[in-house]
């Protein structure tokens, strides 16, 4: 296929990806979706999860935080609070975060009220996906 997608991933810390790719997959608010060249104009919110794209037959994985995705004229624009390429994921840090989040959730369940349950839950989710991605537990 000669048609290509232009994938742009932009975070508050700058542009992470700006590449010509063949396919893009991500987790939207209502489930996973894939984008091929010629996709219709599409807007969605992104969940904490993974974004992957295929370029020259190779699939690359990226961790993404909550954000927004728009597809328009073969251009995929992803705006997220933070994103990391799989190679950049700090597994040790993610494991520490996972332990912390689990601890907080346990304490919340034990009845401590000063714990932000939603935040701990989100932290847990982020850490889990980071670890899964880094240790290649998520196959496509």
């Amino acid at each position: 296929m000669e048609n290509k997608l232009k994938l742009e991933v932009i975070t508050p810390y700058g542009e992470l990806i700006n590449e010509e790719v063949d396919e893009v997959y991500a987790t939207g608010a209502e489930g996973d979706f894939g984008v091929f060249p010629g996709h219709c104009a599409f807007m969605t919110a992104l969940r904490i999860g993974s974004l992957s794209y295929k370029k020259d037959g190779q699939i690359q994985y990226v961790f993404i935080n909550r954000g927004y995705c728009e597809v328009l004229n073969d251009r995929v624009l992803v705006l997220v609070g933070s994103a990391e390429r799989v190679e950049e994921i700090d597994v040790e840090r993610a494991k520490a975060a996972l332990a912390r989040a689990e601890e907080r959730l346990r304490r919340a369940q034990a009845g401590e009220t000063d714990i932000d349950h939603a935040r701990a839950q989100a932290a847990l989710e982020r850490a889990t996906i980071r670890i899964q991605l880094a240790t290649k537990l998520i196959p496509r």
Binding site: I10, T11, P12, Y13, G14, E15, G28, A29, E30, F33, C40, A41, F42, M43, T44, A45, G67, Y68, E70, L72, L77, L79, G81, S82, A118, R119
Partner: protein
């Protein structure tokens, strides 16, 4: 009259201080460059996101299905978020912001509104603690290691308070970085959002997007990001302004050291000359006395 030794010691001390202040100036300059760099890298994200939200809000508004955080309601309680630094030695940076914040709080109280106070930075915490204010949230230790997650955290608190109707309006007060020598105190309303300012765009105004979920729900999901963007910008601006203020303050301090060294050196020379003159007079006096006794 101080002795020559005391004065020399004092000069040495001032020279020591000067070294410190000029080093601090250079550190502040380096940090300022770092923050400015972050601001630059942040801009594409902020502008694009704002653009998206403005378009989306426009699309939703025409259908009259507006999420609550866009709407105003009668205001009884206002949350004030004051952003200061953790550390001092940055001139009038904190004084300006705290004075403006206090004035604004008094003004709002004068209008019969309840105030909920949240602060970023040790300086604001200390200032308002001394004046017996109650805090809703205190965030310290952010400056120097500011992350976007800080903004997300603060935004979440604000939105929760607004949605649960604990507060009816949220304003943020922070120092804006105008230039290295000028900071400006800014008071912005964060919530309710009101109208999202549109950025000039190259996109045609109407595109038949497929929204997932439907546009109003999508907007409701994305609007918190708008608050995050505003808060992150305020935090970045404040940091840049802080380092700029510190740079100027340390530059002035260094200049003052120079001035003090000059004055004290002058004094030292005077004292030295005075003592030489005195010794000379002693010698002349002695010679005269010897002459007379001969």
């Amino acid at each position: 009259m101080p002795t020559l030794r005391d004065i020399r010691k004092k000069i040495k001390a001032i020279q020591g201080t000067k070294k410190i202040t000029s080093a601090m100036k250079m550190v502040a300059a380096a940090k300022l460059r770092k923050v400015q760099d972050s601001m630059l890298r942040y801009r594409p994200y902020a502008t694009k996101m704002q653009q998206v939200l403005a378009d989306l809000a426009g699309a939703v508004e025409t259908r009259g299905d507006v999420p609550p955080i866009l709407l105003r309601r009668p205001v009884k309680t206002v949350e004030v978020l004051v952003i200061t630094s953790d550390k001092g030695l940055c001139g009038a940076f904190n004084t300006n912001i705290l004075r403006a914040a206090h004035k604004e709080i008094n003004r709002l109280k004068g209008e019969g509104l309840n105030i909920v106070l949240s602060v970023v930075g040790r300086k604001a915490r200390d200032y308002f603690k001394r004046r017996d204010f109650q805090f809703k949230n205190v965030w310290t230790g952010i400056s120097g290691k500011l992350q976007y997650t800080h903004a997300q955290m603060i935004a979440q608190e604000m939105i929760n308070a607004y949605v649960s109707e604990a507060v009816d309006e949220v304003v943020v007060i922070f120092n804006e970085f105008k230039s290295v020598i000028a900071q400006r105190v800014v008071i912005n309303r964060l919530l309710p959002i009101g109208r999202i300012e549109a950025v000039p765009t190259e996109q045609p105004t109407f595109i038949p997007f497929t929204y997932e979920p439907r546009a109003p729900e999508l907007l409701a999901m994305l609007l918190p990001i708008y608050i995050e963007i505003q808060i992150y910008r305020a935090l970045l601006e404040s940091q840049a302004a802080e380092e700029a203020a510190r740079m100027t303050a340390m530059d002035n301090a260094t200049k003052n050291c120079d001035e003090l060294i000059r004055k004290t050196t002058l004094l030292a020379n005077k004292v030295r000359q005075a003592s030489i003159t005195k010794e000379l007079m002693d010698i002349v006096g002695g010679v005269e006395a010897l002459k007379q006794s001969e």
